[in-house]
Structure formats: structure tokens, C-alpha cells
Amino acid sequence: MPIRFFLTAPFFLFATALVVGFRGEELYASRFSPAALAATHLVTLGFMAMTMLGAMSQILPVLAGVPLPRPRLVAALVHAPMTVGTAALASGFLWSAPLLLKAGAVLLGFAFGVFLTAVAIGLARAPTRAATGAGLALAAISLAVTVALGLDLGAMRGWGLPLSNLAARDLHPAWGLLGWTGLLVAVVGFHVVPMFQMTPAYPPAMQRWLAPAVFALLAAWSVVRWRDPSHDMSVWLSGVLAAVWLVFALTTLALQAKRRRTRADATLLLWRLGMASAAVALACWVASALGVGDGLEVAVGILALVGFAVSVIAGMLHKIVPFLAWFHLRAALPAGRRVPHMGLLLPDAPQRRFARVQFAAVLLLLAAASAPAWIAPFAAAALGLAAALLAWNLVTALRAFRRAQQA
């Protein structure tokens, strides 16, 4: 069921590459340029939210011990409006078309509304009130805040309504990245990093307090920004918030260095790229809050979205998709029939090829900031190739699945 979300995601990454390729100079000029807004929403909604929402139907049962209610219905009600809504919103930005922006806002508001309702019902039924459930709940609330702020901004651009507060332009990405994305990756990471790479566990205090601390800091920072954006407290709070996330990123890298499995597979390489990108993005974010270094905002976006989120998510997809394929074959094939294992469904070499191209894409996207007219086309080509390789890898696993099913 989540497969349709996972297969849709690479197409939006490819669309992002097209925007970088054709509107590169404009994109690098400002994070509020139409091309930059289109590209960020293609990545955050089309790639990140698409995969994260799809994965939630797997995450909730395993981490919180509850199924997502009515998973088929929820998937159907979320996937189509997400896909069409993201395409409409991004086109609306690109060609400054209010009608498309309105359509995108309505469709996306509906999709997230359905998803968040389902998650709330699921979590309310969770048998244990463990730290994991609380972390997932705080991630979901952060998503709700992100969506609400996004609709506020959408009302301005689409309907011409006055913006409730200028700070919304900074709070919207902060809640989306430091709240929803960061918390979901951390809560999942607390489990998957030690499990699959066989590292020592994250410190118990971090597992317990990271999510509440991040949430409280984000809330405090938001209140300060909302009331007085130039207040000193706002810089202090963003510094502490960045420091908390930096500790998480560095802890992850340190744990991975102590892993008991010695082989470095593509997923591990992608996680390392992701955590290193996150650390640099946080440093740039604080620097730009302090007013040091001009034009760092675009670099923050590239590192946080492509360097961190796309790498980490793609790394997990390369495990999740072949495993789900294997798991369903095991259930579908009669006993005694040989089931092809993950290595036969999706071999190692193409996974590594994707990881290398993704790494190159991140470097080229960053380099393009210095000379967009020259380098952006190459960055776009690398990102487009990464998207194509990811799609190819996922389709390879699915084709192997179908062959085994029919054989």
C-alpha cells in the first residue's frame, strides 16, 4: 500500500531537477523567488511528505503498536490529492498563477487533514504511552502547525488576504524541518540505527527528552518571533534549538562509527551524508540568524532538503521496498517455494550507484550558488540522474517481485 507513495516520490525529485535546470539563476537569487518556492515545495511535499506519509502506515504498528485506521481508505484519500495538489502548488509558484495556488492549497489541506486525523485516532488507541508514541505525536502536531502556517501563507498568495504575521514565512519551514521532519527521523532513527547497523543504543535521556525539548524550544522561539522578530531571545533560542539537533546528528555519526556490522552498505553511506549535511545546515542556519554570511539561506535549504532529508529517506527506501517485496512474497508463495531474498530483489551495486550520484548532486547544488548560470545545469543533471536511479532501483525491486509472484 505505501508503494504508490514511494514510487511517486522520485518523479517529484525529477521535477525539482527540472526547475533547477531551467530556472536556476532565479532560484539561487532568493529563497522567496517563484522558482525557489516551487523547488522547495516539490521536494518537501512531493518527495519528503509523500514518503513520510506513506511510511507512517508501517511506522505506527511497529513503533507505537497500533495500526493506522482504515489504511486503504486513508492511502486512497491522501495519495491522489497530495500528488495533484503538489503539482498544482508548484506550478502556481512557477508561473505565478493564483488559481493553481488555490487548488493546491485546498487539495493539500484536505490530504493532510485526512492523514492527521487518521494518525490522531491511531495514536489515541496506542496501548503504551512510551517515549516513542509521544515523539510521534509531537512530530504529527508539528506537521499540523506546518500545514496551518502553510495555509496562512497560501491565503496570502492565492486569495490575496493579508498575512497574519510576517514571521509565518520563517515559522513554516522551521516547523516543517526542525519539527515534523527532524522528529520523525529522530524517533525512527532511535530504533533503526541501532537495529539495522547494530550500533550501541542512543543515550536513554536523549531518546526520552529530545522530542519534548525540541518541541518546547520551537514553540518558545515561535512565540518570540511572532511578537517581536528582532528580539534577542529569538537568536538565542534558535541557537539552542540548532545545538540540540547538532548533538543528535553528531551522536548518530558517533554511534555509526561504533557499529558492529563492519560492511558499509549504501544506506549507511546515505545516512552519513544526511547527518553531515544536517550538521552543516544547522551551523549555516545559526550563522544566518546572527547575520553572519550573506545568502546562506539557500545553502541551508539545499543541505536540509536534498543533503539531509532526501539522502536519509532514500537510504531507508532502499531497505524498506525490497524488504516489503520479500515479506509479501513470503506470504503469497506456497510453503516450500524458494523466495528470492533482498539481495536478489535489489542488488548492492545499483544502490551504491545511487548513493554516489546523490552525493555529487548535493555538492553540485551547493557549488552552483557561487555561479548559478554555469553550474546549475550540471547540478540539475546530477539531481535528475539521482531521481532516475532511485526510481529505477525501486522499479527493479518491484519487477523482481512480480516475476517471482508469477513464476
Binding site: 511497529v62 537495529m195 547494530m198 558492529r260 556490522r261 563492519t262 531474498h341 533482498m342 548492492d348
Partner: protein, 145 residues
């Protein structure tokens, strides 16, 4: 006080360690070493499954009446992990590195999500229903069958 879930969780980690050693030996092309380590891993895995299937699960099912519950799924996954461990051992005999890594990766992902379901859901239920006699059960598990 040692709980059943604490004891069984520790054993999960011990099995993880044995797997990692076998995998590292295959990665080094140290095939004889790999065969020994993979056999040690398979024995530890089998011992853990036996504890569950012959002692803990029947006692839990008898106490709670949950004979159609989580233990059914756990037993099915044990069978799948036994198959994958056998495939890993066959790959070592055939000196087929990619085959070993493919089967091994599948076993790791299956085993980890299986362990997580046990540690998060089933073991706490077992502690709740059998916890009063934890020492008794742990003594039975520790004694050579």
C-alpha cells in the same frame, strides 16, 4: 530483579553480535572462520526460538487464552528466520559472498522488526502474565534441556 523481557532482550543483542561476527568474516573472505561463526549464530538463534516456542509461548497462551494472538505470528517468523539462516550457511559452503549478504540482510531486517515487536509488545505482556514466576522461568531456560 531480572525480568523475562530483560533476559530475552539481552539474548536478542547477543544473537545480533554473533551475526555481525559471521558477516564480518564473510566480508574478509575468511570462509572457514565464517562457517564456524555462522554455525554459532544459528545455534544461538535456535536456542532462543526453542525457549520461546517450548516454554514461554505455551505458558503465556495457557495463562491468557491468547492462542490465536501474537505468538502465532512470532512462530511463523521463526520458521522464516530458520530458512534464511540455512540459506546463509549454504552460501558459505558455496563461497557465494553476494548470496550470503542478500540472505543475511533479509534475515537482519526480519529479525530486527520481529525483535522489536517482541520487546515492545509481547514481552511486556508476558511479564505481566508470568512475571510473578520470572525466577522460576529463567531457571528453566538456563538449565540445559
Amino acid at each position: 530483579m531480572t525480568t523475562i523481557s530483560g533476559f530475552m532482550t539481552d539474548d536478542h543483542r547477543a544473537c545480533d553480535g554473533l551475526y555481525a561476527e559471521a558477516e564480518a568474516a564473510v566480508a574478509r573472505d575468511a570462509w572457514d572462520d565464517a562457517a564456524a561463526r555462522c554455525a554459532a549464530f544459528a545455534r544461538a538463534l535456535e536456542r532462543h526460538f526453542t525457549w520461546e516456542e517450548e516454554t514461554l509461548f505455551p505458558a503465556f497462551e495457557a495463562r491468557t487464552g491468547m492462542t490465536e494472538g501474537p505468538t502465532v505470528m512470532m512462530r511463523m517468523e521463526h520458521a522464516e528466520m530458520r530458512d534464511l539462516a540455512a540459506a546463509m550457511q549454504a552460501a558459505i559452503e558455496a563461497r557465494a559472498q553476494d548470496e550470503f549478504f542478500g540472505a543475511g540482510e533479509t534475515l537482519v531486517v526480519l529479525m530486527q522488526q520481529h525483535n522489536m515487536k517482541e520487546e515492545q509488545i509481547l514481552y511486556p505482556l508476558i511479564d505481566r502474565s508470568l512475571g510473578g514466576e520470572a525466577d522460576d522461568f529463567l531457571a528453566r531456560l538456563a538449565s540445559p534441556a
